[in-house]
Symmetry: C2
Subunit: 126 residues, 2 copies
């Protein structure tokens, strides 16, 4: 890593060719991994300005505020960035289930050695 992004105290996100960084969302209280999404510069700015997590939907090619339809918004507690500044961590307080399936976390299935998925109890998610 030769661009010093890992040593600077300046926030300088390294956006990909689509203008996005990966956003990892965890529950600030429990540390549980809730979901993964993508943010462009505008989503980052809106999240910082409003305190509510905004993302860029690649499938819909649109900005969205998490919870705008479900009501299950994510209130930001803290934003962190990784060493090469191409991934963000959003530590949040979720208003409800983070997953569109109604589960607390999107990571509710374990990959087994035989290529099957095992559904986990809610307590084991994330």
């Amino acid at each position: 890593m030769d661009d010093q992004r890992d040593r600077t105290d300046l926030f300088s996100p390294r956006f990909d060719a689509s203008g996005l960084v990966t956003a990892i969302v965890t529950d600030a209280d429990t540390g549980v991994l809730l979901m993964v999404a993508h943010m462009n510069a505008e989503a980052i700015a809106l999240t910082q300005q409003t305190g509510q997590a905004h993302f860029w939907s690649r499938s819909r090619a649109a900005m969205w505020r998490k919870g705008e339809t479900s009501g299950n918004g994510l209130t930001m507690v803290e934003m962190r960035v990784d060493c090469d500044q191409d991934a963000l961590l959003l530590r949040v307080t979720p208003a409800g289930p983070a997953c569109h399936t109604g589960r607390r976390s999107c990571f509710y299935r374990r990959v087994e050695a035989d290529g099957r998925l095992a559904f986990l109890d809610d307590d084991a998610q994330g």
Copy 2:
């Protein structure tokens, strides 16, 4: 989501145009977010076969086993997949610091409102 990837018990990763999925790595004991990387089908297979986390380096366009140079490998405890199967969670036992900077986690800086980054103590990372 209309392809039922969120309901199936078949592991069917949704690779992006580059053949990659996002891999989120957490410490299986503490839940701390250690790093984010990318995996292609071969990296997934190698990780499953060897129990050691393998990733695809986008910058070097090469497969790598985490720890092959640093010694700080990641022994997989469990692999999970998210609802739309484009992100994996690897719960691991790290042999040492996960970040190339020597820190436990790559997420050692907090993004402040003024655009600066605050370096966190090791205990607060991830």
